[in-house]
């Protein structure tokens, strides 16, 4: 259990450092950086490399936004296995749905109860 925390910290931290280098060295905007990271996550899963990373680092790999790309691919592939090509379309949000719906729901609740502080 302890090594899991350690590696979650290290891998999550390293993915963040990669993002920071995109900000500071390549001078990308946050939106460009995050988009790049999800694309990388999707491609890594295409090569079957992201799942081992999750096995190894747990939340260190599932919490960074790269896992969004990974789980989109994963959902699509899972569904495609059962239903063929159409599954690529229909299965896309199968796994990711919780993050998306949480963001929408909490975003709206946030707007109901909070005001920006400036």
């Amino acid at each position: 259990m302890l090594p899991m925390f350690f590696w979650a910290f290290v891998i999550g931290g390293l993915i963040s450092v990669f993002g920071q280098l995109m900000f500071d060295v390549v001078k990308l905007t946050p939106a460009h950086t995050m988009s790049l990271l999800v694309v990388i996550g999707a491609i890594l899963d295409g090569f079957g490399l992201y799942e081992p990373l999750i096995d190894f680092a747990g939340a260190g790999a599932t919490i960074p936004i790269t896992s969004f790309g990974n789980s989109l691919v994963h959902g699509a592939l899972q569904e495609a296995e059962q239903h063929g090509l159409v599954g690529v379309l229909t299965g896309m949000f199968e796994i990711t749905s919780s993050g998306m719906s949480a963001a929408v729901i909490f975003g709206f609740i946030g707007a109901l109860i909070f005001k920006p502080k400036g």
């Binding site: 979650a8 999550g12 931290g13 060295v25 950086t33 599932t62 936004i65 989109l72 919780s98 949480a102």
Partner: protein
């Protein structure tokens, strides 16, 4: 950046002069902060994952979903109480890359545009920052999954 070529000599000369006075981004410090802030957020995520594994019927595989939802909930509170933007200034990518940063971008936009009403303001602007992440995530995933499925079908893999 690649546009430098199009500058006139006067512009180039000026930019050299201006560069001297520009305060450089503290890349090392930023990376260090990003590392430990990002790492810490992931470690918190790991703790939440274990919480769901121990106290509920979630496996390592299935605990990811409630963990993400919980993290976004925490992100909503931190955003709403005006804390997340300060964490962001300090942690940089460390607080932007984890899913809490995704949540923050959605929630901050939603809160900000409340004054324009719930339909046109909150509804219309909620994804103005996170939209590109969703677009490129979905499109890249589509291409990757399509290629892989086609390969499998043609028996390459």
């Amino acid at each position: 950046m690649g546009k430098k070529k199009n500058l006139t000599p006067v512009q180039q000369q000026y930019q050299q002069l201006e560069q001297k006075h520009e305060i450089k981004r503290p890349v090392w410090k930023n990376c260090l902060n990003a590392f430990w802030v990002g790492g810490l957020i992931c470690a918190v995520g790991q703790a939440i994952t274990y919480f769901y594994i121990y106290f509920f019927d979630f496996t390592e595989q299935t605990a990811g979903n409630p963990t993400v939802a919980t993290m976004i909930f925490i992100s909503m509170l931190l955003t709403g109480f005006g804390v997340y933007d300060h964490i962001g200034q300090f942690g940089g990518a460390g607080s932007a890359v984890p899913v809490t940063g995704f949540g923050n971008s959605v929630i901050a936009a939603a809160i900000e545009h409340r004054t324009e009403g719930f339909v046109l303001g909150v509804g219309g602007n909620m994804f103005k920052l996170a939209g590109s992440v969703i677009l490129f995530g979905v499109f890249a995933a589509f291409i990757v999954a399509l290629i892989k499925t086609l390969w499998t079908m043609m028996g390459v893999l």
